[in-house]
Amino acid sequence: MDDEKKPSAEEVKEKKGSLKVSRRDFLKGMATSAVAATITALPGPSATEAEAAVPSGIKEAVIALNINNKVYRIKVKSNWTLLDVLRRELDLTGTKKACDHGNCGACTVIVDGKAVYACSLLAISMENKKISTVEGLREGDKLHPIQKAFSEQGGYQCGFCTPGQMMAAKALLDKNQKPTPDEIKMSMAGNLCRCGAYPKIIESVLSASAKIRGGA
């Protein structure tokens, strides 16, 4: 038995064709069409890319981002994702880059109350929005009940998907303080964990839910 189906020549061509649209080209297109109107072009290159030419169609702008209740004024290019700005420009590296294509959920942050993938959002479209990342969960040395629950129940192994898992859990628990295991599964299905810590992730979210309701 062999389930490797032979595609027709057209299919191959089409597949290869579709692969050729690189993420960068896609973002370039986005930048020129959707958001170009809202930004101001600024003279001079940004600090991180001082030696590179600005590719055609890309604009630069200074924007204000509200992240974890702190406002960052920052110069960005119109094709930079929120994920790259968080990590590379603001050193908020708790939000992880694992697939960079909106497939895995490692970069989950909360924007205006919704769990979203930071790799699939342009930073420039994030002005006037409230962004929360894993760095904003704890208060000083005091862990958030979700973090405490993940620690106690062992809802992680390598920890790379974990910031995203916890932000997805927070978005859920902010709306539904007492989710059932099935509700947890449904709302966290967009967060892949290759270590397979799912059983303990569910226990962690249930425990966090109890802690939050108990006022921990």
Binding site: M1, D3, P7, V12, K15, K16, S22, R24, E49, A50, E51, A52, A53, P55, R87, D91, L92, T93, G94, T95, K96, K97, A98, C99, D100, H101, N103, C104, T133, V134, E135, L137, L143, Q147, F150, S151, E152, Q153, G154, Y156, Q157, C158, G159, F160, C161, T162, I184, K185, M186, M188, A189, L192, R194, C195, G196, A197, Y198, P199, K200, I201
Partner: protein, 745 residues
């Protein structure tokens, strides 16, 4: 009587929980250094082609491009090699591409976009060559050759003969043959391979998502022709390895050379697509099995022929590794195993969780199920009759196993599962959604000990300790496990231990957490350091108390004068007054002439919708003999997580290569689907403690054993439900429907 422990076996929060859960942990992909350049690799679009010409002028003229490495610029150093003829070498950069994705050259630029742009501007002319993708095609004499000597390699260990195979088949009442296949898949660590290299004068510092920093350090020194102590490797946090990230690889040398050439730090981070092409893979296997048994169920003959598909390069003897399963799991006096490592124009095969064993467990456990049915014996009883017991041990070396908890695994799991009361003959489930039960056994050497093993314990004046340990924690919780072993050994609270890993400058070589070796191997080194530290404590206390060392003893972190009742000194009192610092040094060696196996049994219940072909795993009970639980959470997580990943192996994961073009068609996390939280049941772990005499506190490792067992257990359960056998995995909706259709004729 069960042993009593203060720390060992307890449920504790991990030593690095705060860093991992707050985003403070810096993984290599999080490293951004001032002035850092970004490297990108140009990869061959052809599965087999000679590089005829390279033109880089346009790329060089692009502002922001700082360096380009072509094959002419790199040392003639083999990244992976087979030293005896036929020699096979993976060069730093390829002048003949042997798979679509092979690395041809590299660029460093001020940002990722510029580096990408530069790669696109470089013109490489190729002379495409004929290619071959399937191992059985590749061994044919007419097949295109990847290497002049041919595509098939057989090592000495790839033929094993025990007893007399012809005699074995003569004795058999039932003989069963079968062909089975497993396919190529990829670790899909959430953190892709990533390297940052920086030179400070003569000294090279490398940050890497790597599980074995000392391997990497030695490899880099050799490749760059510098001294080992000129290289520092930092691997503090690793976003999973699952068998990858353990060796010197091309990207390490490329990043170091680019950093040297530009005199700036260089980051080389694989994209997800690159990770599916350029990192290692679980190598595909093709199996021919012929087993014989007597009417009473006694196995009399095992004959196996295996093609292990190495892909384009030679990483290790995968055939031998996979053949260990038919060689060792069941007792059988007459065995003949033949394996071939075969080159094809696909990405390189390599180590992945439990290495070659899962590829052998699927065919063998399905074959055993078929054989049981042919004999009219319950599949569980058939396995129980034949599995290699403690006294059988390694049947070729004739060494008994150091411990064996298989019987407890099976008894406890079968009871909880209700095997005896619920198991029905195949195909007897009523209605359109049919339920079925299946079982599979696991027995392999993963979890045993091998070197190097070392650890250092520094005792501080306030009674706390620092454990400096080269064993990395790629996610399995090794830092915590080692801290627990040290705390138990010294009789101090777990919280009093700080652990340093992931720095070749401040730790000593303890190897990587490969082969499920960490707990038992490095745990023994930690215990050696504990003994050394205790010895020094006694020396210091003897001096302070003006007593003979022989008259002193340590109990519960206190030093007592024997026979003098309550009179004692605490560690803290000794340490604050000790004449010189106390530093416990521990090295250990793997035990010789021993055989240690991890054992396990999985029971699966599935529901198969005969209308849609959808298979739902309703229940998976995973029982494992771990020798002794050190970290309760770590142990459960490894069993549950291994089984979850193993469900992916059995039901979801396959990296496809297009037959016409030789190009991988699903190098992304949508089309190469790993299990999500919706795809898996709550795996129920059962932990069996056989108290292994060789491991620290009786522990064996458990990182790999749970991985390979779910696939055959589930395949057997599907057969039990709908009467459809599978000769290859992953099992998917299409193959289930096809099977049902065929059966209905």
């Amino acid at each position: 009587m069960a042993k009593e422990f203060k720390v060992v076996g307890k449920k504790v929060e991990r030593v690095d929980a705060f860093e991992r859960l707050t985003g403070e942990a810096k993984y290599t992909s999080d490293v951004y250094l001032p002035g850092m350049l970004y490297a990108k690799i140009l990869r061959s679009p052809h599965p087999h082609a000679k590089v005829v010409n390279i033109t880089t002028s346009k790329a060089q003229a692009l502002p922001g491009v700082k360096a380009i490495l072509t094959p002419a610029d790199v040392p003639d150093f083999p990244i992976h090699k087979r030293e005896t003829p036929p020699t096979v070498v993976m060069p730093v950069l390829a002048t003949t591409a042997r798979y679509a994705g092979d690395e041809i050259l590299a660029v460093a630029a001020v940002d990722e976009e510029t580096a990408d742009e530069a790669v696109e501007l470089i013109k490489v002319e190729y002379q495409p060559l004929p290619f071959v993708l399937d191992a059985e095609d590749a061994v044919k004499p007419t097949a295109p050759k990847l290497y002049p000597e041919g595509n098939a390699i057989q090592e000495k260990a790839d033929i094993t003969i025990r007893g007399d195979i012809d005699e074995g088949f003569k004795q058999a009442d039932v003989i069963l043959e079968g062909k089975y296949k497993t396919h190529m898949l990829q670790h899909t660590t959430l953190e892709p391979r990533v390297t940052v290299a920086r030179w400070d004068g003569k000294r090279l510092t490398v940050w890497d998502s790597h599980k074995a920093p000392f391997n990497l350090r030695t490899g880099l020194a050799e490749a760059l022709n510098i001294k080992v102590n000129q290289v520092r490797v930092l691997t503090h946090f690793i976003g999973g390895d699952f068998g990858d990230k353990g060796n010197l690889e091309r990207q390490h040398v490329i990043a170091a050379l680019l950093a040297k050439k530009t005199n700036r730090p260089v980051k080389l981070e694989f994209t997800r697509e690159e990770n599916y092409l350029g990192a290692h893979h679980r190598y595909p296997t093709t199996w021919y099995l012929k087993y014989g048994a007597k009417k009473d169920g006694t196995l009399t003959a095992i004959q196996v022929k295996l093609y292990a598909d190495s892909g384009a390069y030679y990483h290790f003897d995968g055939a031998w590794n996979s053949l260990e399963i038919p060689q060792k799991v069941y007792r059988c006096p007459n065995v003949r195993l033949e394996g071939w490592n075969v080159f094809t124009n696909k990405p390189e095969g390599g180590h992945m969780r439990c290495v070659g064993h899962p590829a052998g467990m699927f065919p063998q456990e399905v074959h055993m199920d078929r054989l049981a049915e042919k004999l009219g014996i319950d599949p569980l009883a058939f396995r129980l009759k034949n599995y290699a017991r403690k006294e059988d041990g390694d049947q070729d070396r004739k060494i008994p196993f150091s411990s064996c908890g298989m019987e407890d695994c099976v008894r406890l799991a079968a009871e909880r599962f209700g095997w005896e009361s619920r198991w029905r003959k195949p195909g007897t489930s009523e209605g359109p959604v049919k339920k079925g039960l299946g079982v599979a056994f696991q027995s392999c050497r993963h979890g045993s000990q091998f070197g190097p093993m070392s650890a250092i314990i520094k005792l501080d004046p306030d009674g706390t300790i620092e454990l400096m340990n080269g064993l990395n924690d790629s996610g399995g919780g090794q830092k915590t496990t080692m801290a627990m072993i040290a705390a138990e050994g010294l009789g101090i609270p777990y919280e009093a231990v700080e652990v340093t890993t992931g720095d070749t400058d401040s730790t000593t070589d303890a190897g990587g957490p490969s082969g499920s070796r960490g707990t038992a191997s490095v745990g023994n080194a930690v215990m050696a350091a504990v003994r050394d530290a205790k010895n020094q404590l006694l020396d210091a206390a003897a001096e302070l108390l003006k007593k003979k060392k022989e008259d002193l003893e340590i109990r519960d972190a206190q030093i007592f004068v024997k026979g003098e009742g309550g009179k004692s000194l605490s560690y803290k009192e000794v340490l604050s007054r000790a004449p010189s610092p106390i530093i416990g040094r521990g090295t250990a060696r793997p035990p010789v002439n021993t055989a240690t196996h991890g054992f396990g049994a999985h029971f699966a219940e599935v529901a198969v919708d005969t209308r849609t072909g959808k298979v739902e795993v309703l229940k998976l009970i995973a029982a494992h003999d771990v020798g002794r639980t050190i970290s309760r959470i770590g142990c459960e997580n490894q069993i549950q997580g291994g089984a979850v990943m193993g469900i992916g192996f059995g039901m979801l994961e396959r990296q496809h290569v297009d037959r016409q073009t030789g190009i991988c068609t699903n190098p992304n996390m949508v089309d190469f689907k790993i299990p999500s939280i919706l795809d898996v049941p709550i795996v129920e772990p059962i932990i069996v403690e056989s108290d292994d005499p060789l491991g620290p506190f009786g522990a064996k490792g458990v990182g790999e054993p749970p991985y390979g067992v779910p696939a055959p257990a589930i395949a057997n359960a599907i057969y039990n439900a709908v009467g459809v056998r599978f000769s290859e995995i992953p099992v998917n909706i299409r193959s289930v429907l096809d099977g049902i259709e065929k059966r209905q004729g």
